[in-house]
């Protein structure tokens, strides 16, 4: 085992707790806990939003997908970043000006409807759990892969650290923690990448897709995990150990879905429907993620919300340059992952695989692992804050008079369900669930926000109908994909990447039902629109 690993991970945990405790000195009132008193500067805020957003799916999953499928999955990082552009263009400033704190608050401010508020609360809790569960699972799997420890302990440790940090520091502390974790994650990918590229140069720039097929760069031992057929001819059994010498060709394994050669290098393997569905889900889903929205209330005004979003877009874009490189270099240095199918581990394993087991390789390996831990911690902290905020205001009904103790209770309640689930469910596919969370968000809150902000004619009945049909259809597709039996391939694309039909459906139903119930438009819609769109300098 890597001797630098344990100290590195403990350092990250201690720093997280220490920065949280430092932030605690400033957190005195309930509003400090919830929105950091709205006095966080845009650069801190932007780093915090980015730190919160770059989850395990971004840090580990994107590189793994690139390693496996190649150029077609580059739409994931592009979409994850472009989501902030959609947020900037259509939502950021008006949403901040609405003065609401959570998505259910926005429903209340804009449409004054209690049933809609409850429905939105249900969606926030669903998306929050759908997103929190894979974070904890990812943490557990990383711990067990790297340290040989048990999966449950990894998930439990991360869950307890995050819950304690949120409960005792609230959002004020979390802002500092998140901002620190963005820079940690960027460093953890950027510094090893410099050494990896130097190593690739000194190895004589080996080709990523050699014409004769991929070869092992060094002697490698692979343990077969499932019964399979190698290269379509040689059957192997689970548990069998295969030895390869340096220069041996990498066989294809029948149970592992991966692309090779031009299929990997050139676009077009994924169908157009699935590609556009993915683009739609990621571009429009970001604005509907509860932990992303909640951050915007910490900006002092609409204009600074806009600037913050722009900085976030730049920070996130900068980060997403790196996972692609890991996936590409993984093709050269860790081809055995294409045989085991454990491609999500490429970021963790690449430094040691490429730089050797010396001090440098191990140190950099520990650094990327620390970054992965930061990814789990920051995203789950943000999610927990937002879900706890919704439980605090809507389920416990504490309202304005709510005490800090109630917020702590809400935090523990919010952590309980996903943690319990994470301990019992370990075989759900991490990056897939995250993508589906985007699809649900894009089909529910995206139309609600965009129409609510830009169209006076939206009614509560229309919003409810749109949420139920569009969001409900996406939710059903998620449940079928994750829990249901494998579907026939023509149909699987339709359900597995539902955004291309659920998003338009949600918009259409919302507009159609609103037009039919035009009498229900709130009488004060003019005042609300003024509040959403007029610059703050005109208020007083």
């Amino acid at each position: 085992m890597n001797p630098y690993l344990a100290p590195g991970l403990i350092l990250v945990l201690l720093l997280t707790v220490a920065i949280g405790a430092y932030g605690l000195r400033f957190a005195r009132t309930t509003s400090d806990f919830l929105v950091a008193s709205r006095s966080v500067s845009p650069s801190w805020n932007a780093a915090a939003i980015s730190g919160e957003y770059l989850s395990a799916a971004s840090f580990l999953g994107v590189a793994g997908l690139v390693l496996r499928y190649g150029v077609d999955v580059l739409w994931y990082p592009v979409g994850f970043a472009a989501g902030y552009l959609a947020l900037l263009l259509f939502v950021a400033a008006p949403l901040r000006r609405s003065g609401a704190f959570t998505l259910p608050d926005f429903c209340q401010v804009r449409l004054r409807s209690r049933p809609l508020r409850r429905l939105a609360t249900a969606f926030v809790l669903f998306i929050g759990c759908l997103y929190l569960l894979p974070q904890l699972q990812g943490a557990g799997l990383t711990f067990s892969t790297l340290t040989g420890g048990s999966y449950a302990w990894g998930a439990l440790v991360v869950s307890v650290v995050v819950t304690a940090n949120v409960a005792f520091g609230g959002m004020r502390a979390i802002t500092f923690v998140q901002a620190f974790q963005y820079w940690l994650k960027l460093t953890a990918l950027a510094v090893p990448m410099i050494f990896l590229i130097l190593q690739w140069q000194s190895d004589g720039r080996p080709q990523v897709t050699p014409p004769a097929g991929a070869v092992f760069p060094a002697a490698t031992t692979v343990v077969v995990e499932q019964d399979a057929v190698l290269d379509g001819v040689r059957p192997v059994e689970a548990g069998e150990t295969l030895h390869f010498a340096a220069g041996d060709p990498v066989p294809t394994v029948s149970t592992v879905d991966a692309e090779f050669g031009d299929q990997w290098l050139l676009p077009g393997k994924t169908g157009l429907f699935a590609t556009y569905s993915l683009i739609l889900a990621t571009f429009l889903g970001t604005m509907g993620l509860p932990h992303v929205l909640v951050r915007f209330y910490t900006n002092p005004d609409g204009a600074s919300a806009r600037r913050t979003t722009l900085v976030v877009l730049a920070l996130v874009g900068l980060f997403y340059l790196l996972p692609t490189l890991y996936g590409v270099l993984g093709r050269i240095y860790t081809p055995q992952l294409l045989m085991t199918g454990n491609t999500d581990a490429v970021v963790l394993l690449l430094p040691e695989a490429a730089l050797g087991g010396g001090h440098l390789g191990r140190l950099l390996g520990a650094l990327v692992t620390a970054g992965a831990l930061a990814a789990f911690l920051s995203t789950s902290s943000g999610l927990l804050t937002s879900v706890a905020g919704v439980i605090f205001t809507d389920v416990l009904r504490s309202g304005r008079s709510g005490s800090i103790r109630d917020f702590r209770l809400a935090t523990v309640l919010a952590a309980l369900v996903p943690t319990t689930l994470a301990l019992y469910v370990s075989d759900m596919d991490v990056s897939r669930v995250v993508g589906l969370a985007f699809a649900v968000a894009a089909s529910s809150f995206c139309p609600l926000l965009v129409l609510g902000i830009w169209w006076r004619g939206l009614t509560d009945a229309g919003a409810i109908a749109g949420l139920v049909t569009g969001g409900g259809a996406a939710m059903a597709a998620v449940l079928v994909t994750v829990l249901g039996p494998p579907l026939p391939s023509s149909f699987a694309e339709f359900v597995g990447q539902p955004a291309a039909w659920t998003v338009p459906l949600a918009f259409l139903v919302m507009v159609g039902v609103s037009l039919m119930t035009g009498r229900r438009v709130p009488p004060d819609v003019g005042a609300t629109m003024l509040r959403l769109h007029a610059p703050e300098s005109l208020r007083t």
């Binding site: 309930t30 730049a314 509040r531």
Partner: protein
């Protein structure tokens, strides 16, 4: 309670607005709401300007990025084109798409703020 280390003033935070809002409690731009017909037209104008700007830039992104899958499907030869030894789709998606998005975002922030300044100037002028 000890003094806050930062001298910045604290704003009141509106948490769950669970109770129906009292009339007059919303101080947001009372000036404008009172002069209803004109004020409403002005706000509509601002909204239209901002929405048109957002939609135009969204169209730029849709044309710049959104057409790429279609292009790669219709003309596979584009995918084989190389820039400095790297295939074009990798350069476009893995590298250039991010500065492109940031550039569009920066343009939006600048123009959206200008729209707001124009609006503010329009509102303030009659008072002076």
């Amino acid at each position: 309670m000890a003094a806050d280390p930062s001298p910045r003033s604290r704003t009141r935070v509106v948490l769950a607005d669970a109770a129906p809002r009292r009339d007059g409690a919303d101080r947001a731009g009372t000036d404008l709401t009172e002069q209803t017909p004109i004020g409403e037209a002005l706000v509509k104008g601002l909204m239209r300007a901002q929405l048109a700007l957002a939609l135009r830039l969204a169209l730029v992104v849709a044309a710049g990025l959104g057409t790429l899958p279609l292009l790669f499907a219709v003309a596979p030869a584009v995918g084989g084109f190389k820039v400095f030894g790297v295939h074009l789709p990798w350069v476009l998606l893995g590298l250039l798409s991010f500065p492109f998005l940031v550039g569009v975002g920066a343009a939006y922030v600048r123009w959206a703020e200008r729209n707001e300044q124009d609006f503010a100037a329009l509102i303030r002028r009659p008072e002076r």
